[in-house]
Symmetry: C2
Subunit: 116 residues, 2 copies
DNA sequence: CAGGATCCCTAATGATACTG
DNA sequence: CAGTATCATTAGGGATCCTG
């Protein structure tokens, strides 16, 4: 029972009542090594699995599919599979995913001002 | 030589030219389990080491001091030590740290709309 | 009070090979 | 093409004890 949320970025799911803060919550969804990059790539529109893999050459297939599944479970990404052979699968941001745009933008702005 | 930046959140320092994105950069600074919480706590003003520890009871001393040092090295936090006995040390956000406010706010906004 | 130093564990990531 | 499965690695986090 209980079978909590079983989402991503596990260390951030252990938030207790005291340390819980909305910022941490958001970071459970978009934090980690690959999610920001994946989301960033999908901001410009839906992409196929293979396209994403080519767009992010340093990611392994395991990490890519794993992160995509977590993003899908968190309702940030939608998976559209066309039942053809060979398979055709597209990933695109959901409404909640697109709504991350201000978050991404503010991070980009901050990075441009304060990096290096 | 090169001795790059040697900052925090190591996995995110391995960004190569291709996957590098400003969002990831920002997350190297404020990501992880504790940094957002620490920054969040300092947003309302400077605090002493002991105050922070009490404000975040679930953090260990090791993690607290380690994250504070990383934040200091990244110039997000300033450490002000008064040479008295017993020691009196205060941590406060730097200008760059305060400039994270829009980032934090956008994350809070997103969390309020899309959490559970 | 504000740390430092060790030892340990697990989650997160990665490499490689295989499949409908 | 779009994934699975298995094994190995490592970095992040934690427990505990010690100190100027």
């Amino acid at each position: 029972m209980t079978a909590v949320k079983e989402s991503s970025t596990n260390h951030l799911n252990k938030l207790d009542a005291i340390t819980a803060c909305p910022v941490s919550f958001t970071l459970t969804k978009i934090g980690g090594r690959w999610k920001p990059i994946i989301i960033f790539n999908l901001m410009t529109g839906g992409k196929r699995y293979g396209e994403l893999k080519r767009a992010i050459p340093t990611i392994t297939e395991k990490m890519l599919i794993q992160n995509l599944k977590e993003l899908e479970a968190d309702n940030l990404v939608e998976r559209i599979a066309k039942p053809v052979i060979p398979p055709h699968v597209e990933y695109k941001l959901s409404e909640a995913g697109k709504a991350l745009s201000p978050v991404m933008k503010s991070m980009v702005d901050w990075a441009r001002k304060y990096n290096v």
